[in-house]
Subunit: 228 residues, 2 copies
DNA sequence: TCCAAAGTTTAGGTCGCCCTAAATTATGAT
DNA sequence: ATCATAATTTAGGGCGACCTAAACTTTGGA
């Protein structure tokens, strides 16, 4: 069994670079709040385990092996199942689940993972709308796009929001924005300015800075995608 | 926050010696599967923390301080709440809960502890019949006694069984013995021989070795206690 | 094309928790 | 009261994951 530290590295690589790309030493150091030198050391060790969860080349960062990719997805599956479980079964609000899940994801057994999934009806998305990887490592997909790329005038549905910033989550909740909320994009200021939207059934217009908007993904009701 | 290792030491001291007595270096080494020398080293360090969770004197083992006692009870509270939660909410059988709880007890937050307790209706005993310490460190009490000390001929109710041996738990479950089961003690062989009993409503007699019987505690229906 | 800034690696070290082997101290049976 | 045996402690290390400081590559803009 990999240690918590190793799991954190694999998850970080996956979140930075997906299952194909490379994650640089510096980006991992930032994400893990660890000195770059520590990252180099850890990656070197991981790369010569058998089976090796990562491939590593000097100055070119790390890439997940098939083995490492599956482990990363398993940990992410744990995380998201736990988030949903805390939300549905224990009444956590969506801004409270992340930190708790961060610790529990390392502590649950395969059996508990299965029972939680079963109890939740084998769900495909967590409370923030992120897909929950399946046991075989495949990922439920939906067509969605960044709110930043939506056409002005289109009516869309929020599919997911970033999960790791509780403050932003509370802000969004305050605006009534969560997965499933309908959003009509009514305007876009030039040069990365704020967007204006109508949220849900309210007629009120709301401006949203580009940073926040970039964390929101939406599915259009029917039509395609593109920048308006 | 104490580390997992420290929590394990405190819990072990509590389980060996309670909140008053001393636990010897050797007994801790056995319980924790660690070399005696490691125990000595750890106890010496713990004794000079501030606040110190244990008091330590050469050759006389360790004793919990008030601070350490409260922490030990908190961890035990976690453990037993988790056991009951796994049993009630996720369908675990009682022989499956211990190992899972052993890992989770270190990972849950105060908040999760509270939500679990609330969800379970602030229970006082776990699936094995062990009392769940309250948040203030007090312990729900019931009058009960070892089955070994019960009168021959008395009709009693099982109040609790040891939790840490899954094999024994499955054996007992196979016999139909769990907290709440009625037991009539029909005979006792001399010199630590087996007991004979009638279990529940069945008329069948069952012999039980003294080791197993020692792990079972019972509450008599009305009358006092004593050896028959 | 060159070179400063950014990124990366090496070297040397810390801390927590564990180990074995050897020395010491306590205990209780005679 | 003695002394073998059991319990405990000391000494000297190991390993995993982290650190800083200093040296070294790589890269992209002038």
């Amino acid at each position: 069994m990999p240690s918590e530290a190793v799991d954190d590295y694999l998850k970080a690589i996956y979140e930075i670079a997906g299952d194909e790309g490379r994650a640089s030493t510096a980006s991992l150091a930032r994400k893990l709040s660890v000195a770059p030198a520590s990252v180099t050391g850890m990656l070197q060790k991981l790369a010569q385990r058998k089976p090796a969860p990562v491939q590593y080349q000097k100055h070119r960062g790390a890439r997940l092996s098939e083995h490492g990719k599956l482990r990363a997805l398993e940990v992410i599956r744990h995380h998201r199942l736990i988030e949903l479980f805390l939300h549905r079964v224990l009444g956590y609000s969506w801004d409270e689940v992340h930190d708790e899940a961060e610790r529990l994801e390392h502590a649950i057994s395969e059996q508990l993972e299965d029972r939680i999934a079963e109890r939740l009806g084998n769900p495909e998305v967590d409370p923030h709308g992120h897909p929950i990887p399946r046991k075989d490592g495949s990922i439920p997909t939906r067509r969605d796009m960044s709110l930043l790329e939506a056409f002005v005038g289109s009516e869309t549905t929020v599919s997911r929001v970033s999960d790791s910033n509780p403050e932003m989550l509370r802000y969004l909740a305050g605006l009534g924005i969560s997965p499933g909320t309908k959003i009509k994009l009514t305007g876009r200021a030039p040069f990365d300015g704020p967007l204006t939207l109508e949220i849900g059934n309210s007629r009120k217009k709301q401006a949203l800075g580009p940073t926040v908007a970039g964390e929101i993904r939406v599915t259009p009701p029917l039509n395609g995608k593109g920048k308006g």
